[in-house]
Amino acid sequence: MSAPARRRRRLAENVTAYGLLSAALVVFALFSWFPIVRGVVLSFQQVNFVDDPEWVGLANFELLFSDPLFAVAWRNTLLFTGLALVFGFAIPFLAAVLLNELRHARAYFRLVVYLPVMLPPVVTALLWKWFFDPGPGLFNEGLRAAGLSGSAWLDSSDTAMLSLVLVSTWANMGSTTLIYLAALQTIPGDLYEAAELDGAGIWRRLWHVTVPQTRFVLLVLLLLQVVATMQVFTEPFVMTGGGPDDSTVTVLLLLYRYAFVYNDFGSASALSLLLFIALGVFSAAYVRLTRRSAE
């Protein structure tokens, strides 16, 4: 059979599959890919939605680089990501290990750990806003009852970002913990038995059995967490509005301001393009490094 005939036959065999795929492809093209391309184009334009778009070259990027908040937003975002990894990466892993060791009420604790995930993000933010209230807030009331002085929490530029990380960790650790738990439960028990026979204590078992066996899940979740936390928006938007003193302005919050406060969609698109490039480069480098270390 000639090559064109083979191609035609393969096409005929797959026509149903293409037909079924077409609806999804159209939806993706319309609501995902087209807007992405449009966003990239918009990065080099100024629009007012009345006249035709005006091509402005790199002016939007120049404006961003001249904005002192640009550097502040990146620094804050990286700080949030760093803190979120310290807390949001280690705490769920330890929680999963503890849950895995439980013999009783495991289902109950699993539910308890997962419950915060079920709350809508804005509800979580507003709830914690009350916890953090420097006056009659839950935390300061507790601290004062214990004879300690309260903290300003969200009202001080020294503690605001850390407070947001606490909220984010609490709200998201349920999903991460369950994924770790699923990974832990795939580790064959005889590995632990062998380690125990060799005289390994709990920490050595954790380090030499648990961590290597869950390495792949750990690496994937690390990447997902970096990508997600670099796009942090809800907590600073709802809880601090970027304050106090710009200490919680993140890249996405700045992007929001450019688009919906300044109504400067060109610069907002330029910023989103920069964020996309940064995360794309990070993801590619990360995948390459982890692949190399796996080999």
Binding site: F31, S32, F34, P35, I36, V37, R38, G39, V40, L42, V47, N48, F49, V50, D51, L63, S66, D67, P68, L69, P134, G135, D155, S157, L223, L224, V227, A228, Q231, G241, G242, G243, P244, D245, D246, L252, L255, R257, A259, F260, V261, Y262, N263, D264, F265, A268, S269, S272, L273, L275, F276, L279, G280, S283
Partner: protein
């Protein structure tokens, strides 16, 4: 790039692109004429159903206007100005033909050419020339072209608690006229004890910056000045330092501002409503809020002009016209704005409906916004006095001075500027060692950076 994680990376880019990808439709409601040949004009500013009284008034007015203008079919929409959705509505052809704005919006809207030029169309409109010129200026570009009309305004004054004045041995009919007098009065009121606070101010949620701006305006200063085509911070000077030093003395030397700080308007209104506060800076529209939401009584509150009276922060609202509207629609839209909001023939009937509905009449606010000059202002004052159901004499000091105090608009990128100045207010009110000069110098650098982004 086909994995789910790569798609996550693309989310912000797609979100902005999706909005921009909306094909622009024709202006406002799109269709020029309704089935019966009437000109369709979409308008917003319709109060929500939850504000039953205001909604009824609005709907009645729409019906009355249509009866008087049989060739126009108004299409009312709920809602006012939402900066977040403004461009999206414009891009999607959903922006009304006549749309509501706050005084902080027109400058940017005009700069982006997102409103119709009504300079010519307004020529035949009655009474526009008797509106206060500074309010009309809010809607003008640098070339003097007009893009909208003001319909209501407020200016900052001093709200005070008359019974506490009496208790502290002060004359409630002679409210403080200078910041030195405010300080002395606050000291006497705070001396009453029982947690009573003499004077309170905001320092959170951008409201601290807003009030520092009002304070500076009262001294004749301003937060930002126009420097050619750009804006520059204008508070790192003697006036700024004077304001902060005064605040610092009241807070720490006199201890007349209470120990609880980081307050917002709701906190301060609660203090005033419960009779625990002597004075705070506010616009007249605060008084109904104190009564309706915080259990206050109208007769307990007095309203004085802003201390010093060398200037005052003004705000307000008005209407602009969709840039895609046809000349016919512009004309019809302006006819509606004039008939509903700028109509001396309806002063009496409009005010009477408020009085009949047990709504407060007698304040320099709706239904009698202080937007007129000359004979029309006097005419409106007479109507207000006729139907007054709140003690209008308590607000006389404010009103008598209002016409002579220079109004200052909020600075560009107001919320960002205020956010920076919040930090200054917080430091002065929470740290006895705060250095006003250093705080203002730091804030100046940041505000200049914010103002540099204004286009």
């Amino acid at each position: 790039m086909k994995s789910p994680r790569s798609r996550r990376v693309l989310v912000p880019l797609a979100a902005i692109g999706l909005l921009a990808a909306v094909p622009a439709c024709s202006g406002g409601s799109g269709e020029e004429r309704s089935a019966d040949g009437k000109l369709k004009v979409s308008i917003n500013g319709q109060p929500p159903q939850t504000q039953a009284f205001e909604r009824t008034i609005f709907d009645q007015d729409v019906a009355e206007f249509e009866a008087a203008h049989p060739d126009i079919d108004l299409e009312p929409h709920e809602g006012f100005m939402e900066v977040e959705s403004f461009s999206a509505k414009l891009a999607g052809g959903q922006l009304e033909d006549v749309f509501y704005v706050y005084f902080t919006d027109p400058a940017q809207i005009i700069a982006r050419r997102q409103a119709a030029d009504i300079t010519e169309a307004v020529q035949g409109l009655p009474h526009v020339d008797q509106l206060q010129p500074q309010l009309l200026d809010v809607f003008r570009d640098s070339g003097g072209k007009l893009y909208g009309l003001p319909t209501a305004n407020y200016s900052m004054g001093l709200v005070y608690h008359r019974p506490l004045f009496v208790k502290a041995g002060l004359d409630p009919d002679q409210p403080p006229r200078t910041w030195a007098e405010v300080r002395a009065a606050a000291d006497k009121i705070a001396a009453l004890g029982d947690g009573v606070v003499g004077y309170a101010d905001f320092s959170k949620g951008n409201q601290g910056g807003w009030h520092l701006t009002a304070w500076l305006n009262s001294l004749g200063g301003q937060i930002a000045r126009k420097d050619g085509d750009s804006w520059k911070a204008d508070f790192n000077n003697d006036l700024g330092r004077t304001a902060l030093e005064h605040l610092k003395q009241m807070r720490w030397t006199d201890d007349s501002m209470g120990s609880k700080q980081l307050l917002t308007d709701a906190d301060v209104q609660r203090m005033m409503g419960s009779g625990q506060l002597g004075m705070y800076l506010a616009a007249p529209d605060n008084i109904p809020v104190l009564v309706k939401q915080f259990n206050g009584k109208y007769e307990d509150y007095g309203l004085a002009p802003v201390p010093e009276g060398k200037g005052t922060l003004i705000g307000g609202e008005g209407y602009m016209v969709n840039p895609k509207a046809s000349p016919e629609k512009i004309k019809a839209g302006l006819a509606w704005i004039q008939w509903k909001y700028l109509n001396p023939d309806r002063f009496d009937s409009f005010t009477q409906r408020y009085a009949d509905g047990q709504q407060p009449v007698g304040l320099p606010a709706l239904p009698n916004p202080d937007i007129w000059t000359g004979a029309l202002r006097e005419q409106q004052e007479a109507v207000k006095a006729k139907y007054a159901n709140v003690p209008a004499q308590n607000y006389a000091p404010y009103l008598n001075a209002a016409a002579t105090i220079k109004g200052h608009l909020e600075p560009p990128s107001a919320q960002q500027v205020y956010a920076t100045l919040d930090t200054v207010m917080q430091a002065v009110l929470t740290d006895p060692a705060a250095d006003p000069a250093a705080l203002l110098a730091t804030a100046e650098t940041k505000v200049n950076a914010t103002l540099a982004q204004v286009r």
